[in-house]
Amino acid sequence: MRDLPQPPGDPDHRSADRYLLWMARKEWRALLWAGVLASGYTAGTVLLSAVIGAALDSGLDTRSVLSWAGVLSAVIAVAVVFIPLAHRAECFTWYASAYRTVQVVCSRAADLGPTLTRRLPSGEVIAVGTEDIERIGDFWERFAMILASLVSMAVVAALMLTSHVVFGLIVLAAVPVIMLGIAPVLRPLARRQEHQRSRKAELTTRACDLVAGLRVLRGVGGERTVGDRYRDESQRVRAAGVRVGWLDAALQALRELYPGLLLVGIVWYGARLALDGELTVGQLVAFYGFTTNLAVSVRHLMTGVSLYISARVAAGRVSRVLALAHDHPDPETPAEPPTGPCGLYDPASGVRVPAGLLTGVVCADPADATGISARLGRYAEGGHLVEEATGRSVPLSDLPLRAVRERVLVAANDAHLFSGPLREELSPDGGLSEERLAAVVRVAAAEDVVRRSPSGWDALLTERGREYSGGQQQRLRLARALAHDPDVLVLVEPASAVDAHSEAAIAARLADERSGRTTVLVTTSPLLLDRTDHVRFVRGGRVAAEGAHHDLLAAEPGYAATVLRTTVLEEQP
């Protein structure tokens, strides 16, 4: 078996079927091989019926019984050899197709960045990467059996046609009739299953909601109400399950009834012919066996069809993610990227950030802060990068996205903490030296976060760092941004959830850490602003005042009100 994962390649995302076809082209060897092996097994079981029939015709003396028993055992041995080989090949097609889908979805997600969650709810995309891959894998795993069923039907039809033309024709006609006969149950069953699925999903959501809010429930109250609601929903799921059960049972009954009736018909007609001497008893017995083989093949085929239907829905969702276009794509003709130290300029607000200084940006309206940081980071149109040496100003949208990201980092509080070792999470390339790690963690006043784990830098972060408090997470994010060490760093409210003691420490250390580099602090915290080189005060979307923090505090009542969150009268302690 090959090693997995393989490089995924470039998927065809124009439609669900094209995506499935692309996978088939990528894995055609594995699929065909699995099909051949599975056919070996099913053909063996058909052969078994033929051998039993021939054995009964042999006269049943000791010699012939023993020799036919030998043939029977040989056929069985061959069929048994195919079983594990086919199973392995089928499983491989599951792994290969499911893993390839995870790869292309994750890869596309990482490239889309903020566009992804803006265009699609993240839950939907996660479901693609976790549930839809199973549907796609299940279909491709079953694909070998679909091929094998077709092969064994062909073998049965051929064997019966050569023995008796009418029987062959009956069998060929019976397969589509049986499949059509079951169709009336399938549609309402699918509908009820859909209903059951949505009820089940609702119940799971409700249970997870209850667990996520358990602290509130146990702390403030509401256990009875929530418990009652869960029980009601659980009973609805039960009712939906019972409704599905009736149709499910009907399907099972029909699946046995139709092939059974075919069996009776074949044996009855065969017996009439045998009475007339047109068939031998052995042939009659063999036909009985063939018909049971046929029933098995029909069952596989029907499973295959329903698996294809769900795989197609899943592939549709996959191709929807893959087909998303980036909201802020690279320019067709990129501008010459600036060199040397750079500042930033936002024409919309008039905010200028000189290179090499620590600039505070204070916005009276929080919406302005969001807009300015988005423009300065090329998350919205309008920001400029200014070359310090020449004063040349380059619109960020004229530069390739990657070039901008390499130079400018906007670190906001919605940044995600990834699961994995702390060291890896903080290091830009995966392996920062311990001295440097210790330094950035000290600047972010996050020593206690590292200290609380005995494994230190190798401590594992789980689920977006949920085991850490909001303040601790914020300090880890700050440490990560500092370790990234970009030319231009825009920090948006980096200490809003941190206690005043730590905030004061961060303010002092940050100025040293970033000395000589371009740094923007979008904040209203007086503790942080206290250490800036100068401050831009934005009101009504435009820069209203500029200057040092202390001067603005004294000269601008609006600034003082924004920063100290007090009215002028209350300002003095």
Partner: protein, 589 residues
């Protein structure tokens, strides 16, 4: 001690005997339905024997050159039997599904009931990770086992018994053909069952890693792109896939050994039955037709036996999940004794010599503090100094290692949740919005489905939330929470505060309860809240100094001790660390 270590094993897993006892209780409760299912399906399985039986009779009839009408009659009889089989299958399968759904509903409802009785301290310490896994993954496994495996087990088990019965009736010697197979199936399945659980557990772990990776990639796509870590993430995804693949390869190897032995044991009896039946035919004990019947009965056994063995994995998984689900009941809160204990003034808090540590490390090293009823105390200090722990101890979430905490004259840890909440409630930074309407979210605090609307509006007004709730599309009836309208974090905190206002405890501990609001609104809210909570004792743990400024007294907690205590003005005059912070904040020297 890391957070994960702290969590590990905190929620218990039920011992197997407890699970068995529960299961037998369940089966006894549904005994009649189960008996009906087995009985009906037994009849169905009998009817399913008609085709091989007919084959044998017809073969003999043909060999005896019987009248064609006899063959027609037999065919008609079999058609009748098949119709009976279909109807019996329909009813018994539907009944068995109904039985399964009932059992499943009962198990999951018991689990949730137990979850809702977990002590607050356990919930706080265990976090939601383990419980979430039990709610999602374990309930899922159990559902699969009960929905798919249970009906299959009943149906296949009955079928196997009936077919072997038929073989015995035909000739008991025919059963000998199955003896070696039974031994091989038993041994190989035992071999497999000993290795499989560990293999599948590892597989599950690698897949939850993979799922976590996908979740991270999607939810953190923004961050990956900002930090230029796309390629690194691709390598990590590939790494996770590779470990999933390796885990799969191990279980695949187990199956590669197990499957052929099974298949061999099913098919060999077909040949052996043929030899045995032919021998019995030679002895004149069986007709040629009966040989055919015997051989095809042997073939017919294969599918139900296979289906039965297929359930081994599912059953093992279901059992493990059940142990984890029932295990939660072991951590349920013991019945509380609300009556005993002294009566004190509501709202008074007396703390003396309080020491406390989470497993091993001590966090609080002897705290003494007394609060008058109606007093507002602000607690400030660096992260990790023990502020939140102090808050939890006041609210009775944890039991002190030594020393005492008395609220309203009594120790809260022995009280029932209801009685405890009347005395003190802790509100922390992280709150939760439940799926449902705004009104339902608020009414939780009263534990009633329907609450007086005016009271709800009053509570919302007290936390400055009435205006935005009025602006929602359907006001109080707007659906919020996961899958519905999502609220911004500041509004979530306001709802949480409104709940507490409705609950109206004697002592309120606010742990950074307004930290996610913008500072101006937070201050306004705290002032309007102070009006509503007049007469209630409030302990506010805060990082914003205006909270401290507005409080009656300020406690500075550092290294697990109260270092400074006094009014704002007193502390400024004292010139300690509080004064230094205040001056930095205000840019005054």
């Amino acid at each position: 001690m890391t957070a994960t270590d702290e969590r590990r094993g905190l929620l218990p897993v039920a011992p197997p005997p407890m699970v068995w006892a529960r299961l037998s209780l369940l089966l006894r409760g549904h005994g009649r339905v189960l008996a009906a299912v087995v009985g009906l399906y037994g009849l169905a399985a009998l009817a399913a024997l008609a085709p091989p039986w007919m084959l044998g009779r017809i073969v003999d009839a043909v060999r005896a050159s019987a009248a064609p009408e006899r063959i027609d009659l037999m065919a008609l009889l079999v058609v009748g039997a098949l119709l009976c089989h279909a109807v019996l299958t329909l009813v018994s399968v539907a009944l068995s599904i109904r039985f399964g759904e009932a059992v499943l509903a009962e198990l999951r409802e018991n689990f949730v009931r137990a979850v809702l009785r977990l002590p607050l301290g356990t919930v706080e310490r265990a976090g939601s990770g383990d419980l979430m896994a039990r709610t999602g993954r374990d309930v899922g496994h159990l559902s699969h086992t009960v929905r798919h495996s249970l009906p299959v087990m009943v149906v296949s088990g009955v079928t196997v018994v009936v077919i072997f019965g038929a073989l015995t009736v035909l000739h008991p010697v025919l059963l000998l053909a199955w003896l070696p197979s039974a031994a091989v199936i038993w041994l190989s399945t035992r071999w497999y069952a000993r290795r499989a659980p560990a293999g599948y557990l590892r597989e599950l772990d690698t897949y939850s890693e993979l799922t976590q990776g996908v979740t991270d990639t999607v939810e953190g796509a923004h961050t990956l792109e900002a930090l230029g870590r796309q390629d690194r993430q691709r390598v990590r995804t590939d790494g996770r896939i590779h470990s999933a693949y390796l885990a799969e390869r191990y279980t695949l190897w187990l199956r590669t050994v197990w499957y052929p032995t099974l298949e061999f044991s099913y098919l060999v009896p077909t040949a052996a039955t043929f030899v045995a039946a032919a021998y019995l035919h030679a002895q004149g004990e069986l007709t040629v037709g009966q040989i055919a019947t015997a051989v095809f009965l042997a073939v017919q056994v294969v599918r139900p036996v296979d289906l039965l063995i297929d359930q081994v994995d599912s059953l093992m998984m279901g059992f493990t999940s059940l142990r984890r689900l029932i295990g939660v009941e072991l951590a349920e809160e013991p019945a509380a004794d609300d009556a005993s204990g002294g009566r004190g003034e509501p709202g008074a808090v007396e703390i003396s010599g309080l020491r406390f540590g989470y497993t091993g490390t001590e966090v609080l090293h002897g705290v003494d503090l007394t609060l008058e009823p109606g007093e507002r105390l602000a607690v400030v200090g660096p992260s990790g100094a023990g502020k939140s722990t102090l808050g939890k101890l006041i609210a009775g979430v944890h039991t002190p290692t030594s020393g005492t905490v008395r609220v309203g004259g009594r120790d809260l840890t022995g009280l029932s949740p209801r009685a405890r909440r009347e005395k003190a409630i802790l509100l922390s930074q992280e709150s939760h919005v439940f799926r449902g309407t705004v009104a339902e979210n608020l009414a939780l605090a009263l534990d009633r489905e329907e609450a007086d609307r005016d009271a709800l509006w009053e509570a919302l007004a007290a936390v400055d939330a009435d205006s935005w709730v009025r602006a929602l599309p359907e006001g109080l009836d707007t659906r919020i929470g996961s899958g519905h309208l999502s609220l911004d974090p500041a509004h979530v905190q306001q709802l949480a505060l409104a709940r507490v206002v409705l609950a109206d405890p004697g002592v309120l501990v606010l742990d950074e309860a307004t930290s996610l609001m913008d500072p101006g609104s937070a201050r306004h809210l705290e002032r309007s809240l102070a009006g509503v909570l007049a007469g209630r004792t409030v302990v506010a743990i805060a990082h914003r100094l205006h909270t401290a400024h507005d409080a009656d007294r300020v406690a500075v907690v550092e290294d697990g001790l109260v270092r400074e205590l006094g009014s704002h003005d007193e502390l400024l005059a004292a010139g300690g660390s509080y004064a230094a912070l205040w001056h930095a904040w205000h840019g005054t020297p």
